[in-house]
């Protein structure tokens, strides 16, 4: 029990995965279910150590399908819940992820990306799961995907992931990668007042008046927990406002539209990017995850050499932060999207850019990081 948290000083020397655990616990996560997998296992191990003393629940399940199933069950019973995995496990979770979308169950799923496909490169970083996080479960659905790039990000992004999931009654995916999750850094935490904890809205009407998916003009219905006295039906089938299965086109349409709108209409709240040296930048790097670390270093090296380059770091990957990309594309000549994949976010950037400036790509998928020198070289070639 060496790892039980004792926050005496706001400064910590944490690994990324440890910061994810601390961020989750600070956000009020009190249920964890998971299955061992490299490079996410530390999250499982630390949760196993910490949950009991915090009166939370921890369970190691028989696989990742079961892990997400248990997380959804716990959330329906009113407890904030999370699981963490890597590529192969994330693929197994896709079906239950869709259930959480359709039944509007708040939960957080961490995917510490490693090289793929299949067993791939278990100990090497990659960013190959970006579009799987967006589109992996079957059927059209909205989703929130966040990507930390530093240890402090791991803490903050996880806290924010819980807030988004509770506020919008949706699963939120955190895409970390092997480098982000295994890097150890000194972290200075912000004051608690700067980062309020958001809890789901609970119904206040008498139980006999409760209509579980009646939104009364809002887009997110209040959510009761099993045992609260509001007995209702939860299903993965498309359902009407009372929660019962329906195939009536008008009800199906209303349901599908609300699903999309509850995320799209809160786009500005979910939109999270960090600009670095953008004011006069002629070349702007768009990066996320561990690549954003190299990119920031490249920008600082470049600035020392007098080059006008900047970085737009994406923390929200989906809904895609198009406003920030549009703004960047209006002010510079080149956008460079370095990624540890064949080009997944660069497609989104090209879609938003609509030919305004050149979109350069730098893709690496050999299980090693993209270095600042490689980024500078690419920029100077163009």
């Amino acid at each position: 029990m060496k790892n039980v948290t004792r926050h005496k000083s706001p400064k910590f020397f944490w690994q990324g995965n440890e910061a994810i655990v601390e961020g989750a616990l600070a956000a009020g996560c009190r249920f964890y279910a998971g299955y061992p997998i490299t490079p996410a296992t530390e999250i499982l191990e630390w949760m196993a150590q910490k949950m009991p003393a915090l009166d939370g629940a921890f369970i190691q399940m028989e696989d990742e399908i079961a892990s997400l199933g248990a997380v959804i069950g716990a959330s329906l019973a009113g407890v904030k819940a999370m699981t963490a995995t890597s590529g192969p496990g994330f693929s197994l979770m896709q079906e239950n992820l869709g259930f959480a979308c359709v039944a509007e169950v708040p939960c957080v799923i961490v995917n510490v990306m490693r090289g793929g496909p299949s067993t791939g490169l278990p100990t090497g970083p990659a960013q190959g799961d970006v579009l799987q996080a967006r589109w992996g479960t079957h059927g059209d659905h909205p989703i929130i995907v966040l990507a930390p790039s530093t240890t402090l990000d791991c803490y903050l992004v996880t806290r924010q992931a819980f807030n988004f999931s509770e506020k919008y009654r949706t699963p939120v995916i955190i895409l970390s990668d092997e480098v982000v999750s295994h890097t150890r850094e000194v972290v200075t935490l912000p004051s608690k007042d700067d980062f309020p904890v958001i809890d789901r809205t609970r119904p206040t009407v008498p139980p006999e008046w409760f209509i579980p998916f009646e939104t009364q003009g809002r887009l997110i219905p209040p959510m009761s927990a099993f045992g609260d006295g509001y007995r209702y039906h939860v299903t993965g089938l498309v359902h009407d406002v009372r929660g019962f299965p329906t195939i009536r086109p008008d009800e199906v349409h209303a349901f599908q539209r609300r699903m999309q709108q509850k995320i799209s209409e809160h786009y500005t709240d979910i939109h999270w990017v960090e600009p670095y040296y953008l004011e006069d930048a002629e070349q702007i790097i768009i990066a996320y995850g561990s690549v954003a670390r190299s990119a920031l270093h490249a920008v600082r090296l470049g600035r020392e050499m007098g080059k006008k380059i900047g970085l737009l770091k994406l923390l929200t990957l989906f809904p895609f932060p198009r406003a920030a990309i549009e703004k960047a594309s209006l002010s510079c000549q080149d956008l460079l999207v370095p990624e540890m994949n064949w080009g997944q976010i660069s497609r989104e950037v090209k879609r938003v850019n609509r030919g305004r400036c050149r979109v350069l790509t730098l893709n690496k998928f050999d299980g090693t990081i993209i270095t600042p020198q490689e980024i500078l070289k690419k920029l100077s070639q163009n």
Binding site: A66, S67, A77, R231
Partner: protein, 279 residues
């Protein structure tokens, strides 16, 4: 009759989601009736019960009853139920699955839930076939029987569901049939009162697919088969083995004690909190 009307009004979402989807002659209604009688007799409140189901004909059961109900993904009912129970151990969590649901796609979850011994009352409705999708063979379809996915006959052996649960470590295992309806709700009462993972296997009939493909006659004739081939477990021990061939036992097959996940985890929590306080 008055009592039945009272039960219907109290426990069914009679004004919301009826008529149901089950075929004429289906045994699922008898299972649901037995479950409601058991719950009523034990005087649980509707608010404390969570009924979790999977996918298939049995999966629809959760729609019809006025409890906290959760209709999950195919085969995963036990995983959702594990999360519910662990997050709020005060809830009475009942899981209903079919044979294909629990043993094919959900087979891994089934053995691990039994091994883990988390307090869940599990019911498996065994009709030997996939009904909802139209009569494909399941892991409970006996060798030699017909289904829409057998060219001539089923070449695979069937799981013995109850024995699988015993081997996996379930602390309470019972088997009943929908023919023995009185016995069924008594078995369910025992299962509901048992702390730990309990399994009640319910042998039922699917006249629409299993019966038709195997020329077993009407629902009534299929229930007569249950009557003729089920042997109470107390009696079975006294019969010579040759008389038990092709027959199956009904009643409480296992009732034992073993450490439960929830109780063990509570101990860990108490210890961890003490260590934490001591610094």
């Amino acid at each position: 009759m008055k009592d039945i009307t009272k039960l219907i009004h109290h426990y069914l979402r009679h004004d919301k989601k009826f008529p149901h989807v089950w075929c004429p002659g289906c045994g699922n209604g008898i299972v649901l009736g037995a479950l409601i009688r058991a719950i009523d007799h034990l005087e649980y409140s509707k608010d404390e019960i969570v009924l979790v189901s999977g996918i298939g004909c049995s999966g629809r059961m959760s729609v019809y009853v006025d409890f906290n109900t959760l209709h999950t993904t195919h085969g995963r009912a036990l995983t959702f139920a594990t999360g519910v129970k662990l997050a709020n151990p005060k809830l009475k969590v009942i899981v209903i699955m079919g044979d294909g649901d629990a043993l094919a796609i959900g087979g891994n979850h089934f053995i691990h839930a039994a091994r883990r011994n988390i307090d869940l009352t599990t019911l498996i409705i065994n009709n030997s076939i996939y009904g909802m999708t139209g009569g494909q063979h399941s892991p409970a379809t006996p060798y030699g029987k017909m289904a829409t996915t057998t060219a001539l006959y089923n070449i695979e052996r069937a799981f013995n569901i109850s024995e699988l649960a015993v081997t996996a470590g379930a602390v309470f295992v019972a088997r009943g049939t929908v023919y023995h309806a009185e016995m069924l709700h008594k078995l369910m009462e025992k299962a509901l009162q048992k702390k730990g993972f309990s399994l009640t296997e319910i042998i039922t009939h699917c006249p629409t697919f299993f019966g038709r493909k195997n020329k077993m006659g009407s629902a009534v004739e299929m229930m007569e088969w249950q009557r003729d081939f089920a042997v109470p477990v107390e009696k079975a021990g006294k019969l010579p083995p040759e008389q038990m061939e092709e027959k199956f036992t009904i009643g409480v097959l296992v009732d034992k004690e073993a450490p439960g996940f929830l109780e063990e985890y509570e101990k860990v929590k108490t210890k961890a909190k003490r260590i934490h306080q001591q610094g």
